[in-house]
């Protein structure tokens, strides 16, 4: 590795020997980091590599157990966020730190008030905001409650918050996770102009493409350690991926051929209104055939979750008709989630913690959730402990779930292994239709590769698969056809080989490009 020891360059931030433990877990092990002034510095690493912890230490949210922090060459004891802010450090958190029922400007002012009355502070901030908005392309509606704004705007408010406090070093933690490709592009333009004005930007991400596109230098973290510092121009995605995981990884799985069969799952003009009276699905029609993967793309919160939940029997639909493996579902005739499973439909929910698993259960109990009534596990009076445990151990081996311990509490598995537990549980029941939501959310790269392979195996085995994911790369590499959702409608359909990032990005913002229109016209003709 070409270590960046450009000692002549001014350092905006330097870390020496940072250590941080949470109980027995060492989240950061002796971290050294040098960030040059006026650069965009990327930090990559898998989930759980310790990136966010490290940034939280810089921002004073956590205290390091050991080590020193230097800002502009000055050693600094950052004991809380206030210290960090006054040292010119600003942070845009992955989960926005905004008060949802406050307006944008109230959020900016909070903590940086200029007097005891709000009105004065707001007046002063407003002028400053307008100036910043013009200078960096950070326009936001200042007087709308944040909860009514799109995430792209919310992120701009976070950046404005930092700039209003005079940030000279801006840290962004996974800033693009919730953005459309166009919004991402705009964000990078903003970062570029900040850099030109002399601001130092630290960009934390697990998306290698973004690192390559936006940064000057990059540092790689693995399992709590800093494993490499390189200049971005001297490296490649493949090399970074290898550094992150510690071994060679295939970034794109090879998709084999598959024979497409009958329609196994279809939705016909389905609408769904939630308990708040908001229409979540609007006249949705789609079908999935045996042996194909249909991907649903879109910025999260545009009805994908409701779509999956409607199919899985968790939510009732208001209009239209669903056909699940030959069984009809309408507004008047529902199937419960267990009935849905009985008719041969497996469901891997989007959020394994909320819907897929019970964290306090040992693996073998987590493994029978949803199938606990089956005679295989359930005796006349009590559950068949031994067969549950044996069955779990066997499947853990087959699916390479580590550690291979049926008694281990679900919470103590890593994200990837928890996800494998859920996938194995559903797939082992051999359903004809699989509903898959965010299969690799919070899963490290190594495990992503194996999960993707498993999904393609199921396709080869002739399952009809509906895949919902916010990761465009994932959808593009797995799906045969891609449907894009926006605000509860299906904007359009693109075959995977014609789906480039720009097309999908436009469709995610409810704009259908001409070539897609032409494609659809061709099909109907």
């Amino acid at each position: 590795m070409t270590a960046q020891t450009d000692s002549a360059a001014d350092l905006a931030l330097e870390l020496r020997g940072i250590d941080k433990s949470f109980g027995a877990v060492r989240a950061n092990k002796h971290i050294d980091l040098k960030v040059e002034k006026g650069t965009i510095h990327g930090i990559v690493g898998e989930n759980g590599a310790g990136k966010s912890t490290l940034m939280s230490i810089i921002y004073g949210f956590y205290q390091a157990d050991k080590g020193d922090i230097f800002v502009d060459g000055q050693k600094l004891q950052i004991k809380d966020s206030k210290t960090a802010i006054s040292a010119g450090i600003g942070m845009v958190h992955q989960h926005f730190m905004l008060i949802q029922n406050f307006t944008a400007i109230e959020n900016v002012v909070l903590g940086a008030e200029s007097g005891n009355l709000i009105d004065d502070s707001l007046k002063k901030a407003r002028a400053e905001m307008e100036h910043l908005a013009k200078e960096y392309g950070l326009e936001v509606p200042l007087d709308t409650p944040v909860e009514e704004l799109a995430v792209g705007y919310q992120q701009r408010i976070e950046i404005l918050k930092a700039l209003y406090r005079g940030a000279k070093i801006l840290i962004l933690d996974e800033p693009t996770g919730v953005l459309t490709p166009q919004e991402t592009e705009h964000l990078f333009k903003v970062l570029q102009s900040l850099k030109e004005q002399g601001t130092t930007v630290i960009l934390i991400t697990h998306k290698l493409r973004e690192i390559m596109a936006a940064t000057d230098n990059v540092s790689v973290m693995r399992q709590g350690e800093m494993v490499a510092h390189v200049r971005t121009q001297d490296t490649s995605r493949e090399q970074l991926a290898e550094l992150m995981v510690g071994r060679k990884v295939l970034l794109r799985v090879e998709k084999g051929a598959s024979t497409v069969g009958d329609v196994k799952l279809s939705m016909d003009h389905v609408s769904l209104t939630d308990h708040m009276g908001v229409k979540r699905l609007k006249d949705v029609s789609l079908n999935v055939r045996a042996g194909e993967i249909v991907g649903i793309a879109g910025v999260s919160g545009n009805g994908q979750s409701e779509l999956l939940e409607a199919l899985a029997g968790i939510r009732a639909i208001n209009e239209g008709e669903i056909d699940l493996n030959g069984h009809k579902v309408t507004a008047d005739h529902r199937l419960s989630p267990s009935e849905v499973r009985k008719v041969g439909v497996g469901h891997i929910p989007e959020d394994r913690h909320r819907m897929g698993l019970i964290n306090a259960f040992p693996a073998y109990e987590a493994f029978v959730l949803g199938y606990h009534r089956s005679p295989e596990y359930n005796g006349k009076i009590q559950m068949k402990q031994k067969s549950m445990i044996d069955d779990c151990a066997e499947k853990m081996e087959r699916w390479d779930v580590r550690p291979q311990d049926p008694y281990l509490k679900t919470a103590n598995f890593s994200g990837g292994n928890q996800q494998k537990l859920v996938i194995a549980r559903e797939v082992e029941q051999n359903p004809d239709v699989l509903l898959i939501g965010q299969p690799t959310r919070g899963v490290d790269i190594g495990a992503i590769e194996s999960i993707h392979k498993r999904i393609l195996d199921m396709r080869a085995a002739g399952k009809a698969i509906l895949l919902v994911s916010v990761e465009l790369d994932e959808i593009r590499s797995l799906a045969d056809r891609i449907l894009v959702m926006f605000d509860g409608i299906i904007v359009g359909e693109v075959p995977a080989d014609k789906a480039d990032e720009r097309t999908l990005g436009l469709m995610m913002a409810n704009i259908v490009p001409e070539e897609v229109k032409a494609l659809q016209a061709e099909e109907t003709a």
Binding site: K82, I99, F102, G111, L117
Partner: protein, 328 residues
């Protein structure tokens, strides 16, 4: 004219009944807006009523009583903060503990000091030349206008002749609104109740904001308690708060955590109480209503209202959740 007089009397009683509820509801507002569930209002009212009456009796001054009452309530409020903010305790458990502590402490200390079965001696005692109770305030010209029809009833009877704490309660409502919605402190209080982590990352201490909000809460609850024992009656008796803390909390929720809404709810409870007090022995359709039923009416209504009539009340988002920064 008789109907008019009855109405005036009921409204007059309404103001008296609503006063402690208003103070307590505002107290609860500062606490809950900052994310601290406060069922401990009841205990704070009780302890301040006791401390107020005891201090007023000993010193002979209602003002010393007020001071002592507020002090006691503030101590209890900070105890609640210590349990819930510093030690991340469960808000409801801490609140319950404070209520039980207040109920037990007032009764046993009262018995130990004054030997009257937990009561304090009467604050007005001719024989000892003691008058440690607040005097009602007679507004200017009230005497002169007394016999003028309508105006006399409204001005001299309804508006004049209340304890200063009654007037203070009604002044406190817009004042608290101003503090909560127009000052830096209020902005921070509301922010902490919604998203403490955001406040923390904005460089504000969550703990400090919560302690301060509970300080304000303690002061306001102190007014409520002292009003009961040193103004409305001239004596403390065990459990004299009689659920007013809970009713104030209900009024707060009913009023959607806003000062005006809470005021309206407190007035509603006050008017029900006033009607109940006047309708002892009420006969409806030949059946004499049991007194107990009428007295229970405000409480029943509270349950019914909270049960479903208020619709969706959006609570401060972070309410009841201890703010823990570090993972463990």
């Amino acid at each position: 004219m008789e109907l008019f007089n009855s109405i005036i009397l009921i409204l007059d009683a309404t103001l008296r009944n609503a006063t402690p509820l208003i103070f307590a509801a505002l107290a609860g507002m500062f606490s809950e807006r900052t994310g601290i569930v406060n069922i401990a209002l009841e205990g704070k009212i009780l302890i301040s009523a006791f401390a107020g009456a005891a201090a007023a009796y000993v010193t002979g001054s209602p003002w010393m009583g007020l001071l002592a009452g507020i002090l006691a309530s503030v101590v209890f409020a900070q105890l609640h903060a210590f349990a819930t903010v510093t030690h991340n305790g469960d808000h409801v458990v801490s609140g319950l503990a404070i209520n039980i502590l207040a109920a037990g402490l007032t009764a046993s200390l009262g018995n130990f000091w004054f030997h009257q079965g937990g009561n304090t001696p009467n604050l007005v005692n001719r024989a000892e030349e003691l008058n440690a109770r607040f005097e009602p305030i007679v507004l200017p010209f009230a005497k002169a206008l007394e016999d003028v029809p309508i105006i006399g009833g409204i001005y001299s009877e309804l508006l004049s002749g209340h304890y200063f704490l009654v007037y203070l309660a009604f002044i406190a409502v817009p004042l608290c609104w101003f503090i909560l919605f127009r000052t830096k402190f209020g902005l921070r209080v509301r922010a902490v109740g919604e998203n403490p982590q955001a406040v923390d990352t904005a460089g504000i201490s969550v703990a400090k904001t919560r302690y301060l909000a509970l300080l304000v809460c303690g002061i306001l609850a102190g007014f409520a308690g002292v009003y009961l024992s040193v103004a409305l009656t001239a004596q403390f008796s065990p459990n004299m708060s009689a659920g007013k803390g809970y009713m104030a909390l209900a009024a707060l929720i009913f009023g959607k955590w806003r000062p005006r809404g809470a005021l309206q709810a407190c007035l509603l409870f006050g008017v029900l109480q006033a009607i109940a007090d006047r309708s002892q022995g009420l006969v409806i359709g030949g059946i004499e209503m049991p007194v107990q039923l009428i007295e229970a009416l405000p409480y029943i209504l509270t349950v019914v209202l909270l049960g479903g009539f208020i619709g969706r009340a959006v609570a401060p988002k972070a309410i009841g959740r201890p703010y823990v920064k570090e993972r463990s």
